[in-house]
Symmetry: C2
Subunit: 92 residues, 2 copies
């Protein structure tokens, strides 16, 4: 594995990690009202194309991390609907 | 420009577009309470590495769109601080 691929893998790990605090905050507070559902929806559409781009280039970091990021954004959408609009705050 | 680069450019355009609804919603409601500040912070760290990855590979779509996405996430952090914690909702 060359150094460039290592940078790509670390870069993908960190950007993928970026969605985790949003999921954690949503779980902790039981609120996702201020999060736009269109953010994860549009991100998933774009990441699906990045996944295709990675497949076409045979680029492992792009394929792998876009796959994981898609899953995390599906979770954000699911939480958004689960907690609903204007649900009372929850203390966890 | 080959077809794979076109896919990469479109993919980057769409993922970058994903942060716009969050900025629009924040502006409209004047609230960013439920958005974790660590999401854009960590995304910026990761995207900076993606930018480096793109530079090392000479990959134009990766360089360009990560640059724009970094700017949009800086805007999300700025709005988060500007609207503050528990600010009253604004109708625009």
């Amino acid at each position: 594995m060359d150094q460039v691929m290592v940078i790509g893998l670390v870069a993908g790990f960190i950007t993928t990690l970026g969605y985790v605090p949003q999921i954690a905050k949503g779980y902790r507070t039981g609120r996702m009202d201020d999060v736009s559902v269109f953010m994860p929806l549009v991100l998933i559409a774009g990441m699906s194309l990045w996944l295709a781009y990675g497949v076409l280039l045979g680029d492992v970091p792009i394929m792998f991390w876009n796959g994981v990021s898609i899953a995390l954004n599906v979770a954000i959408i699911a939480m958004k609907f689960y907690y609903g609009r204007g649900a009372p705050p929850v203390t966890r």
